[in-house]
């Protein structure tokens, strides 16, 4: 019989416990797959040539940054490949199979010579679904140097920073916004995440910074159709689908400062704040927050919500980095939405409070070719008073509630023929009759359910799906 001493037992328990903890580690989808070491020097050549052999011979020192020289003669086999148009976000090029030591990055399309031949800075992230090289290349005096980091990226992208400030570090996070492409990139897990603004022409997009731990896959948010008609530029937002953060920019074309909300505060304990509205919920541990916020721009109220919890330190950091511009808070913000159409709920809601009830609006939109169709899913109802102190006139965003009724709304800005109007909404498999109302040039199709459920599909009279919320 072997008898363990108390310390031997403790040692063993600690070893096993730490192994068990480590077993929970799951590498991100951008874990770095490659290590290589080499360096290439050669004769000068310009970027912008078709780069089956040009571009790169980019040598990757594993996961590390390494200075490389992008040199060599341009291929003579394809002189027509030089174009004037720079690659855009979404353009495809390929990165070949990853070799164990050295990658030669090849482009299957041309780059813009003009942006590279002149003394300028160029920063690029190159990659594919299979692999990513992150880094930047500076072209000065015709010589390109840069750093490359190997990683993986769910979605490849390309970024250009000609004649702009080089990479700038913000509190340890490499997050940069390119106003030309409305694209923001940042680093996470040794690779780069990219989000592209959708539909905004603003030249004043706020610099987007966020904590690496708070970011994950991205989605784009847009305000409902009709926003432009009120003189405001589109809402631009990025939403984390996992860790929970949303940031947005609304810029009024009219320049009305009081209606300008450049960013939302993420102050965790502000409930509400006067710069928009924000609510944060604290999880059971007491130090992680789920937050949601309102953005007001003129007559429109946009609600955004982060789906997950983030750490309070993250919240503080983000809050400290984002400037909040005061916005006007209307007394009854939703009245301007759709009088009689969307906020007619004045019946008691769960908890016995009168008012507008609780609600959580998750805005999802999609535009279909030929018609501008946006889906908005409102789950819950609005409560202006129920979550505030008795008698308080403060507007408080509450929710979501799993028990309060839901309203599902589809809004269109385009006059749809009757046959294209939704007649019903399918929510989690149940088909619910929908009502259609016209207001302010918008068409609101609403349906109510007994609780927030997803997915939902708006169907026409024949059952054909019009859009999905």
């Amino acid at each position: 019989v072997t008898v363990s001493t108390p310390d031997e037992t403790l040692d063993q328990r600690l070893r096993e416990a730490m192994q068990r903890i480590a077993d929970d580690y799951r590498p991100g989808d951008d874990v770095l797959p490659v290590v290589s070491a080499d360096r290439v020097d050669g004769s000068r050549r310009s970027w912008g040539r078709r780069t089956a052999t040009a571009a790169a011979a980019i040598v990757l020192l594993g996961v590390a940054a390494v200075w490389v020289v992008v040199d060599g003669p341009a291929p003579a086999s394809d002189p027509q490949s030089v174009t004037s148009a720079p690659p855009r976000f979404g353009d495809a090029f390929t990165v070949p199979e990853v070799e164990p030591l050295v990658w030669e990055v090849e482009f299957d399309r041309s780059l813009d010579v003009g942006n590279f031949d002149r003394p300028s800075r160029f920063q690029a992230w190159l990659g594919s679904n299979d692999a990513i090289t992150r880094g930047f290349v500076s072209v000065e005096d015709g010589r390109a140097t840069g750093s490359i980091i190997v990683g993986e990226l769910p979605e490849w992208t390309w970024q250009r920073y000609a004649d702009r400030e080089p990479y700038r570090e913000v509190d340890g996070l490499d997050a940069r916004l390119d106003p030309d492409t409305n694209t923001v990139a940042w680093r996470r897990g040794g690779a780069v995440r990219i989000a592209q603004a959708m539909g905004s022409e603003s030249e004043r997009l706020a610099e987007l910074v966020a904590d690496t731990e708070a970011l994950d896959d991205l989605a784009d948010l847009e305000v409902p159709a009709g926003f432009d008609e009120l003189g405001y530029r589109p809402f631009t937002g990025w939403q984390s689908s996992a860790s929970g953060w949303v940031i947005g920019v609304i810029e009024p074309a009219s320049g009305q400062a009081d209606l300008q909300l450049e960013a939302m505060s993420l102050e965790p304990d502000a409930e509400p704040i006067e710069d928009g509205w924000l609510r944060s919920e604290v999880d059971e541990s007491g130090d992680r927050h789920r937050w949601s916020a309102w953005v007001q721009a003129g007559d429109l109220i946009v609600y955004v919500a982060a789906p997950g919890y983030v750490d309070d330190a993250v919240m503080r950091e983000i809050a400290g980095l984002i400037e909040v511009v005061p916005a006007t808070i209307p007394e009854r913000p939703l009245e301007v939405w759709t009088p009689g159409a969307m906020i007619e709920r004045e019946s008691p809601v769960a908890g016995g409070e009168l008012g507008w009830g609780r609600w959580l609006a998750v805005i999802d939109s999609e535009a279909e070719e030929g018609r501008d169709v946006h889906c908005l899913a409102f789950t819950g109802v609005v409560d202006f008073n129920g979550c505030s102190e008795p008698g308080s006139e403060d507007l408080t965003v509450c929710g979501p509630s799993n028990t309060t009724p839901s309203r599902l709304v589809m809004v269109t800005t385009v006059a749809l023929p009757p046959e294209s109007l939704p007649a019903s909404v399918e929510v989690a498999g149940d088909v619910i009759d929908a009502s259609v109302e016209q207001s302010g040039g918008l068409t609101f199709v609403t349906a109510e359910t007994d609780g927030p459920r997803q997915p939902m599909r708006f169907l026409d009279a024949t059952g054909v799906e019009l859009c999905t919320g």
Binding site: P6, D7, L10, D11, R13, L14, R15, E16, A17, M18, Q19, R20, I21, A22, D24, Y25, R26, P27, G28, D30, V31, L32, V35, S36, A37, L61, G62, V63, A64, A65, V66, P100, L101, I149, G151, D171, G172, R187, R188, G189, G190, T212, E213, R288, G308, Y309, D311, A313, V314, R316, E317
Partner: protein
């Protein structure tokens, strides 16, 4: 010991292993170490990334790449902690039964001063000796032992 097997010895690395081999063989173990140390997979990925970047840059001059790598990870964890104002557990913890040692240890690690956590994880997860721990952390042997003793005292109370 598991981690040792994954990482190999410093001698092996010094005998001709190149950085690619080191990365291929030890990246996962290093990330697991960083994860136990910080409680965050995303942070661990970043820290390990940066640590390897340092290893690669200094590879020709490194006599003990493994120790340097782990030292760089510890340093990265400290830097991250300074930036964030905390040193542990940004991730939503993976579910662990609350009545297990793993749950208790993870909670205890989160509360421990970083210096004690470092030596505990290096000892019990990586499997380093006191001397190796002191070398990795760049502290006197007595300091490493002191941190270890205090950390163990705390763990002993938690794991009664």
């Amino acid at each position: 010991m598991r981690q040792r097997a994954e990482l190999g010895s410093a001698g092996e690395q010094a005998r001709g292993e190149d950085v690619a081999e080191l990365f291929a063989r030890s990246r996962d173990a290093a990330a697991r170490f960083a994860y136990v140390l910080t409680g965050s997979a995303a942070v661990a990925d970043d820290i390990v990334h940066d640590a390897f970047a340092q290893v690669i840059r200094r590879w020709p001059e490194l006599r003990e790449p493994r120790a340097y790598l782990y030292g760089a990870i510890v340093s990265g964890a400290r830097s991250w902690g300074r930036r964030k104002g905390r040193t542990y557990a940004l991730d939503v913890p993976a579910p662990i039964d609350v009545d297990t040692d793993a749950f208790v240890v993870r909670q205890a690690l989160a509360r421990l001063p970083l210096a004690q956590r470092e030596v505990l994880v290096l000892r019990y997860f990586v499997g380093m000796t006191d001397v190796e721990i002191a070398s990795t952390l760049g502290v006197p042997l007595g300091t490493a032992k002191s941190h270890l003793r205090r950390g163990l005292d705390a763990m002993r109370k938690e794991l009664r």
